[in-house]
Amino acid sequence: MGIRTIRLPDVGEGVTEAEVTEILVKPGDLVREDDPIAAVMTDKATVEITSAYSGKVIWIGGEVGKTLAIGSDLIRIEDETEGGNDTASPPAATPAQPAQASRPEGNVQADNCPLKSPPSLKVVENRPATIATAAIPPRAEGAAVLASPAVRARARENGIDLRGVAGSGPAGRITHADLDNLFQNVGQAKDRSVSGPETVETVKVVGLRRMIAKRMSEANATIPHITVVEEVDVTEIEALRAKLNESRGDKPKLTILPLIAAALVKAKETCPKIFARYDDEAEEVHYSTAVHIGIATMTEAGLMVPVVRNAQSLSPYQLAGEITRLADACREGKAKREELSGSTITITSLGPLGAIATTPIINKPEVAILGVNRMAVRPSWNGSAFVPRTMMNISASFDHRIIDGWDAAVFVQKMKTLLESPALIFMKD
């Protein structure tokens, strides 16, 4: 019998770690080759991991919510093959010892990793036991803070008072890992003792929700947003849409969304600056000739933004079909990594829930996001009388570091013009 180790596979270019979102087996379970055993999520996609061996699960190297480095040991399986352990790695490490199941994480032997990534299991996730104690005063009042100059400098730059940080190193020394934990735990719900009838449910922020939280706060903290709201008369485009839908045959039904996407493509001719990706670390803005439109999509797990690639070469019907296909893929958790990245602008629409104005947060590293508000029939003065018109607001936010107020206003006016006179969308110069 041999011990087989399944490691966290390289799920895509540039990804160095992934968060475990599901563990589908437990020690003692029998699995067959190709059985799904776990799911992990990178910042791009969720990936299902299947077993490469048949046998009995004897050890699990992660738990839901943990972030593991690519190449880390994930699960060990005892199989029926003769002798030896991992075909891919030296045997010394793992004689069959069920006791390993209780091995403390972060301490898994690191000597048998055949991948080029760092061979240790780097647990950057919160460690509940040690962190829970952070609420307790970690050292005696007035006692010196023990931390190396580099740790002290990092704390100083981040405004952290080390007197309140528990040190896990020798003699209570505060390490970089202690600060990592602190940063990860900021804002997480903590258990509180409850008196009386009130109960508080503590929900761990994991998976997609944690990713959304991280992305949103990053975008909101780093990007100075400017939001422009404009009123658009969509009577004509709605009439056009109704006509197209009447005679669509087996083509997909058009909502307003693909038409707005088409208007966006047209607007790029006048306002190319709005369609960009800003790498603020490198201080570079990347302008692509293609238009890749992110579509903010609600799923059960939370907000996802699949990308309609090369929207400039798609007809409204194709746009509609692609938007539907991507939304379904997201809701079923089957969207591929490349379908979730690379957008140059994003549309966010809540349909009938769209309110009269919103302040959308930019999908970093893009520089603009177009919010679509609710349509309503309103009285409009046409110069001699009030007439009923279908009105809809658009609320667009821009990265004010890159987009000046003037450019933002020009873009919003261009969108208004295109949506009010839809023929312009399809005019060629």
């Binding site: 010196a144 023990l146 190396s148 002290r152 100083r156 190193g169 020798p170 003699a171 209570g172």
Partner: protein, 462 residues
């Protein structure tokens, strides 16, 4: 009167001032530094560097002179050496010139403007400088006071003639036959020992009951033994009162003494230069006779900083340099504050003493669990080959955790341990960290690892 203006104005180009100015210049701040003498301050011109040059020369001379007695254990035979002290001094001056020239170059490279002249503070934003070309008024946004310190005079023994401060003692052109040193602190001992090795009959007079009174007797004992071996007379509880006709009158607890002294070196301490540059007119909060600062080197007046000797003890160049960096960072808008766990201190006595962190008594007063682990140099092979086995390494630590609270050493050449000791303190090292670090063989540094092992109850070569 000409007017200049700048963002940062640094008064004094000593180790604190020049570091602050270079850092400010590197940060792109428009910076002026004012200095009345050569850059480098006391340290480069009349302190650390010249005294080390003299100490080295004296040691070389002493080695040869010892060989000339026919008692060299190494079998070296030579005839009686002579020293041309004027030549020694010009060699020393060459080193000083090279270093001060280097500082000027660094200031220039950082884009710092240098104004030569004596500064007088008018208010927190304005300074008047008396230059060779007349009076200059400089206005600034941020003022950094780095005016340093000068030797303290004893009223009954005013400097001048044969009564020397350390400055003059570091530029004598002949070795005096007899030298009395008033004040047995490290400056007096360093220079006194050097002249003793150069052939002077040296007498040291210390008012307190111990030489190097800020350290414990365990540390000063090897130095005392060496002074005795060099024929230096040491009188404790001794007050020098009057000097006339080559004779110094001294009162001691055992009665009055008459000490013949061709020269008298007075080293009873240093006082900050505050009133001398008009800094007193700012009405800054004081701490004793020093300018009071917070952990960011800020004084009680907005945008006025103070660094170095004007801010108090320990008056050490490297403390001033670290403060200079903090002041510059603060002015540049960076987060900075004094978070050092230790300021190493080195006495270039013979043997040398290096002190980092808590002494045993200080540690015990603050921590009931404090313990001391010691390892002697006499068990070290390298020390034997250097003919100097006097001294020891001592690690003050917390027994339970092994956390290092302080490290001290006495021995020839141990000044170079200052870096390792300070690093251990700043990294919050434990005995295990030091014991588990390979210390190269054969070096004096092995004694540090041995002391750590001893502290862990696992002494190896003991």
């Amino acid at each position: 009167m000409t007017d200049l203006s700048c963002k940062v104005l640094v008064l004094g180009a000593g180790p604190g001032g020049y570091v602050c100015a270079i850092r400010a210049g590197q940060a792109g701040l428009d910076t002026i530094i004012v200095e009345k003498a050569a850059p480098g301050g006391t340290c480069l011109n009349v302190g650390c560097i010249p005294s080390k040059a003299l100490i080295h020369a004296a040691e070389q001379f002493h080695t040869v002179a010892h060989a000339a007695t026919g008692h060299s254990a190494l079998g070296i035979l030579t005839s009686s050496p002579k020293i041309d002290l004027a030549k020694t001094m010009s060699w020393k001056d060459g080193i000083v010139r090279q270093l001060t020239g280097g500082v000027s170059g660094l200031l220039r490279k950082a884009g710092v403007r240098k104004v030569d002249g004596e500064a007088r503070i008018l208010d927190g934003k304005t300074v008047e400088v008396q230059t060779a070309d007349g009076l200059l008024r400089i206005s600034c946004e941020h003022l950094v006071i780095a005016s340093g310190s000068v030797p303290i005079e004893v009223p009954s023994l005013p400097f001048g003639g044969d009564i020397l401060s350390s400055t003059e003692a570091l530029s004598l052109e002949t070795v005096p036959e007899t030298l009395a040193v008033v004040g047995g602190g490290y400056i007096g001992l360093e220079i006194g020992t050097a002249y003793a090795k150069l052939g002077a009959q040296v007498t040291i007079l210390e008012a307190r009951p111990q030489i190097l009174p800020q350290y414990d007797s365990e540390l000063s004992r090897p130095v005392q033994a060496r002074l005795k071996a060099l024929g230096v007379e040491v009188h404790l509880n001794a007050q020098a009162s009057l000097y006339a006709n080559g004779v110094l009158q001294v009162k001691t607890s055992d009665g009055d003494l008459v000490v013949p002294a061709q020269k008298v070196l007075v080293t009873v301490g240093r006082r900050p230069v505050i009133a001398d540059c008009g800094a007193d007119s700012l009405g800054l909060d004081m701490q004793g006779r020093y300018i009071k600062i917070n952990g960011k080197c800020q004084t009680s007046m907005r945008e006025v900083y103070a660094i170095g000797d004007v801010t108090g003890e320990p008056m050490l160049a490297h403390r001033a340099m670290a403060q200079g960096e903090i002041a510059a960072a603060m002015i540049a808008g960076e987060a900075a504050s004094w978070e050092k766990r230790a300021i190493p201190a080195v006495c270039f006595t013979d043997p040398e003493i290096v002190v980092v962190g808590h002494l045993p008594d200080e540690a015990r007063a603050a921590n009931a669990d404090a313990a001391v682990a010691t390892y002697p140099l006499r068990a070290n092979g390298r020390a034997m080959t250097l003919e100097r086995t006097d001294g020891f390494v001592r690690i003050v630590h917390e027994k339970k955790s092994g956390l290092v609270l302080g490290i001290q050493a006495v021995g020839a050449g141990v000044s170079e341990f200052a870096g390792e000791f300070a690093l251990a303190l700043e990294m919050c090292a434990t005995l295990t960290d030091i014991a588990a670090t390979i210390h190269a063989h054969p070096t004096l540094g092995e004694t540090v690892q041995e002391a750590a092992w001893a502290g862990l109850g696992k002494a190896l070569h003991a």
